[in-house]
């Protein structure tokens, strides 16, 4: 078994199992902590609507907070959207997801994806610079913050190296002529999968629960969401 076969086979499945099992463990572990019922008389009983409002409303900052001048408030949009374009718009990635799930959709034009790669790359470095130089972010940051940055940045960097690989006629899933860059790219993605449930990257799913919980609680009081 060569490195690419390992990355496409056992390493991929191992990382997916860790990601799914770890995420479930984390969510179920928190859920099992239990909850105290709120005995006060609610102002509103439309808690699901409150939860949904909490989830969607916080995707965009309230107008009162748009003048904060904090780089991260805008930069975060850039790298989240950039990553989404790269992951879900790039043809090889769609094929990769298709092989795993059977799902497929039309890709974005390659230049659009390459532009997103460039923007995301710059955005990532801005995020790191801000974290290292801003007194608030420096105080809040620990190993999780820097390691999580690293494991998201790594697939981006290795992916850039793997972009211009030469393929033998027949295209994917046939291996490229030099399989190492793709194998390293895949392994870096798998590192991200393995780390995701354990650190702050778990906000990928926790954000919706947290926003929903708070949205419902605030809606119950009729408070600002």
């Amino acid at each position: 078994m060569d490195l690419l076969e390992f990355a496409r086979g056992p390493a991929l499945w191992f990382s997916l199992v860790v990601m799914v099992a770890g995420s479930l463990w984390r969510v179920v572990g928190i859920y099992r902590l239990g909850s105290r019922p709120d005995l006060s008389e609610p102002r509103s009983t439309r808690l699901l609507a409150g939860a949904m409002r909490g989830i969607f409303r916080r995707m965009i900052p309230r107008k009162e907070f748009r003048r904060t001048g904090r780089l991260g408030a805008f930069n975060a949009y850039l790298y989240h959207i950039g990553l989404a374009v790269i992951v879900f718009g790039y043809l090889p990635h769609i094929r990769f997801i298709g092989r795993l799930t059977g799902l497929a959709w039309p890709p974005l034009p390659a230049p659009v994806v390459y532009f997103a790669v460039g923007l995301t790359f710059v955005s990532f470095f801005l995020a790191l610079m801000e974290r290292l130089t801003d007194p608030v972010l420096r105080l809040l940051s620990g190993f999780d913050d820097y390691f999580s940055w690293f494991v998201v940045f790594l697939p981006l960097a290795t992916g850039m190296i793997a972009i211009n690989q030469s393929y033998a006629p027949g295209a994917a899933p046939a291996p490229p002529l030099d399989p190492r860059p793709l194998a390293i790219h895949l392994l870096s993605v798998e590192l991200l999968f393995v780390w995701l449930p354990f650190g702050k990257l778990a906000h990928a799913f926790l954000v919706f629960i947290s926003r929903g919980v708070t949205g419902a609680a605030l809606a119950r009081k009729g408070a600002a969401i």
Binding site: R26, G29, S40, E64, A76, L206, I209, T214, G222, A224
Partner: protein, 437 residues
């Protein structure tokens, strides 16, 4: 005072200050991390945006005042003791260390002096973390273990002993009632069994703004509201929610509940006091273990209802340029943003909104018990600068609010900043324009 089943546990909280115990704080932090709390604690991405919402950070630029940072002892304890992977991280030596007394002493300033529980940070958090709600929970651990500010323990002790954090007893309130009866020529019903509404008051109103009693007597007379004030259990201020002790809060709330049940009222009116509303309306049933036999109505909510029913009628309007300071626990956290505005428009021709008013308005700086903490005075007055900028932006001639604590804090800060701006109570303003009989 009527003995309460909660009183003994409340006394134990007071005793904690004699021997601060970090391990006790850790146990309480763990006990406070329910499912909802944990989902929020786990969701933080350390973006730092909450700092931009906090007036204590904005005026000092001290990163320690970043709201989510104030939760670090609670978060570390949760991660060490209760988080899903805590068994593994402890075994591997990767868990955060146990909290220490030195750390908690340092965090006492962050969790109390520099937090009004105003909830502006909650509003900005892109992860939907109710940071103010979590600080409130963290204070449970701090107070139970002896790390709350001494001034709040002293206020809690006075409240448990006398019924009021300022030591206001019934004879003092009776004198104020008699004075207001003479001023208005109206009888203020005391201990009237079977009245529909029971009014409770904050010590700050009784001592500093007792005209509100006369104002309400006149309003209720016009609106034909059946109401009463209890001679025992009249104190609405709840230092328990400020120090962060459900036991102290329950002991104090149980006096109001006893009075309401004794007088068989249908409603208890929460007065012009933000945190009193939060304690009585939202936290009380949870502290006392069940729903009340009565409903709680905020005074602004009631006045607005009476006005909309045509029972509260006014004539004429104030022509000054007035603006409204939103009490955080009534507007942002209490769900009553529109009622005060409708009342303002009813009695004011020159009502102007401050920039970012309503849900995102800045706190006066004294909420959440901060105004009672002597050592926090300098920081509190500095934090007022955010409010000052809001007020000055509209060039208001008078500031109106619906919280006696806000009013007191604002008056002091305005004087300290050499500004000339009267601060008015909304209820009194409404009463001033009542249609004559």
């Amino acid at each position: 005072m009527t003995p309460s089943p909660f009183a003994e546990r409340a006394q134990a909280v007071l005793m904690a200050r004699e021997a601060p115990d970090a391990r006790r704080a850790a146990r309480e932090f763990v006990a406070e991390t329910s499912r909802e709390t944990a989902f929020q604690l786990e969701a933080c991405v350390h973006c730092g945006l909450c700092a931009e919402a906090c007036h204590f950070y904005l005026v000092t630029r001290d990163p320690r005042y970043t709201p989510i940072y104030k939760l670090r002892p609670m978060l570390d304890t949760y991660r060490r003791e209760r988080a899903p992977f805590s068994t593994v991280t402890r075994a591997l030596g990767l868990a955060p260390p146990e909290v220490t007394a030195a750390e908690l002493n340092e965090w006492s300033e962050l969790l109390y002096d520099s937090c009004n529980l105003c909830g502006r940070c909650t509003l900005i958090c892109p992860m939907g973390i109710d940071i103010a709600g979590l600080v409130r929970r963290a204070r449970e651990g701090m107070s139970a273990a002896g790390f709350a500010p001494p001034d709040l323990y002293a206020a809690a002790e006075r409240a448990l002993e006398t019924g009021s954090p300022m030591g206001v007893r019934w004879p003092a309130l009776r004198r104020q009632i008699e004075l207001q009866e003479r001023e208005t020529g109206l009888k203020v019903p005391v201990d009237a069994e079977g009245a529909e509404y029971m009014l409770v008051l904050s010590s700050m109103e009784i001592i500093g703004f007792s005209e509100i009693i006369g104002a309400l007597a006149r309003i209720f007379h016009q609106a034909k509201v059946s109401w009463t004030i209890p001679s025992a259990g009249f104190e609405a201020t709840n230092v328990g929610v400020q120090i962060g002790s459900r036991d102290v809060a329950a002991a104090l709330l149980s006096r109001i509940v006893d009075a309401a049940e004794r007088l068989k009222v249908k409603y208890v009116i929460s007065p012009e006091c933000g945190h009193a509303y939060s304690a009585l309306r939202w936290e009380g049933p949870n502290f006392l273990g069940g729903p009340y036999s009565f409903k709680v109505v905020q005074i602004v909510e009631l006045l607005d209802q009476l006005a909309r029913e045509g029972r509260l009628r006014t004539r004429g309007k104030d022509t000054r340029r007035l603006t409204f300071h939103d009490p955080c626990q009534i507007v942002r956290r209490g769900g009553l943003p529109q009622a005060p505005r409708r009342l303002m428009n009813q009695v004011s021709d020159g009502f102007v909104e401050m920039p970012d008013s309503g849900a995102a308005s800045f706190c006066c700086g004294g909420g959440g018990g901060v105004s009672a903490i002597h050592r926090a005075e300098k920081l509190r007055l500095a934090a007022f600068d955010c409010k000052k900028r809001q007020v000055q932006a509209v060039g208001a001639e008078a500031l109106v609010t619906a919280c006696a604590n806000c009013r007191d804090v604002l008056e002091e800060a305005i004087e300290q900043r050499a500004m000339t701006l009267p601060v008015l109570g909304l209820t009194e303003l409404v009463a001033q324009y009542l249609e004559p009989d």
